[in-house]
């Protein structure tokens, strides 16, 4: 059996990649995907922890997170669509009516 620390590191890697993606990408959808990816990496560590500790709490947490993620997707995408009504692009660099 693999040393479970590597699961954690892997999730850490994915998490970081996701975060980096949020910072560097300009397409709102891709940013959003990166966020989802971050959440997933969290799920991975949770599952690993729950495996380590031998209790099911972590897995329940993951389940909850999935639900939340689903809700987020629904709302988020809706908002993105609603926003395109005002400016056609999903490029976050072009969305700054509110500033300073």
């Amino acid at each position: 059996m693999m040393d479970s620390n590597f699961y954690l590191v892997l999730s850490g890697l994915i998490f970081t990649i996701g975060a980096f993606g949020v910072l560097v990408r300009r397409n709102a959808l891709i940013i959003f995907m990166c966020v989802e990816m971050m959440l997933n990496s969290v799920n991975l560590s949770l599952v690993a922890f729950s495996y380590l500790w031998g209790n099911v709490d972590g897995q329940i947490f993951v389940f909850i997170i999935m639900a939340v993620a689903a809700a987020e997707v629904a709302i988020g995408l809706a908002i993105l669509i609603a926003n395109t009504r005002h400016n056609q692009s999903v490029n976050v660099d072009e969305i700054n009516l509110l500033r300073w």
């Binding site: 975060a19 300009r26 799920n43 599952v47 329940i60 639900a67």
Partner: protein, 173 residues
């Protein structure tokens, strides 16, 4: 064999993640994302989380990504990002910071020696039964709460999605 398996799948997951990050077309990112989710689902199985693996495939790969794809088709289909010179430095800085974060995380993670009941894993695994039981007894309240959350999602989608009717603000109180 286990570790080899882990390495392979993990590598796929990483690659997919990088794919999401790097691919110019949103559609490609979405597909990579799906791959990433899938590979994670496989890893869940190796961690006695069978139910979650299934859920992962259904909810994420099956639901979320598809939804995202639809939306991409709807709005986000123009190719990737306009290359942005203004905040070029931000890319570099964030890369460095990301590396720092990673270093911090992994160093801590590696150095932490786990003192749970040792790497036993779950005695009876994360089977639907197990999860279900936990959900409906110890975690009843969160479970109920999820319902509210989903209601919000529902309403939200409704508000934001629906066509606009012009407001008639009549003055009676």
């Amino acid at each position: 064999m286990n570790s080899l398996f882990f390495i392979v799948v993990g590598a796929v997951a990483l690659a997919a993640a990088l794919g999401v990050l790097l691919s110019r077309q949103p559609v490609h990112s979405a597909l990579f994302l799906m791959a990433n989710f899938g590979s994670l689902a496989i890893l869940y199985v190796t961690l006695d989380a069978q139910f979650l693996a299934a859920a992962q495939v259904i909810i994420y790969a099956g639901g979320i990504v598809i939804l995202i794809l639809f939306v991409i088709m709807l709005i986000g289909h123009e190719a990737g990002d306009t290359p942005d010179s203004r905040r070029g430095w931000i890319k570099i800085v964030s890369a460095l910071l990301a590396l720092l974060l990673l270093a911090g995380l992994s160093s801590q993670l590696m150095s932490s020696q786990m003192t749970g009941p040792a790497d036993r894993g779950l005695p009876s695994g994360g089977t639907p039964t197990q999860i279900g039981e936990a959900l409906f007894t110890r975690f009843l309240l969160p479970f109920e709460f999820v319902a509210i959350l989903l209601l919000v999602a529902l309403i939200g989608a409704l508000i934001m999605g629906r066509k606009l009717v012009t407001v008639e603000a009549d003055q009676e109180d």
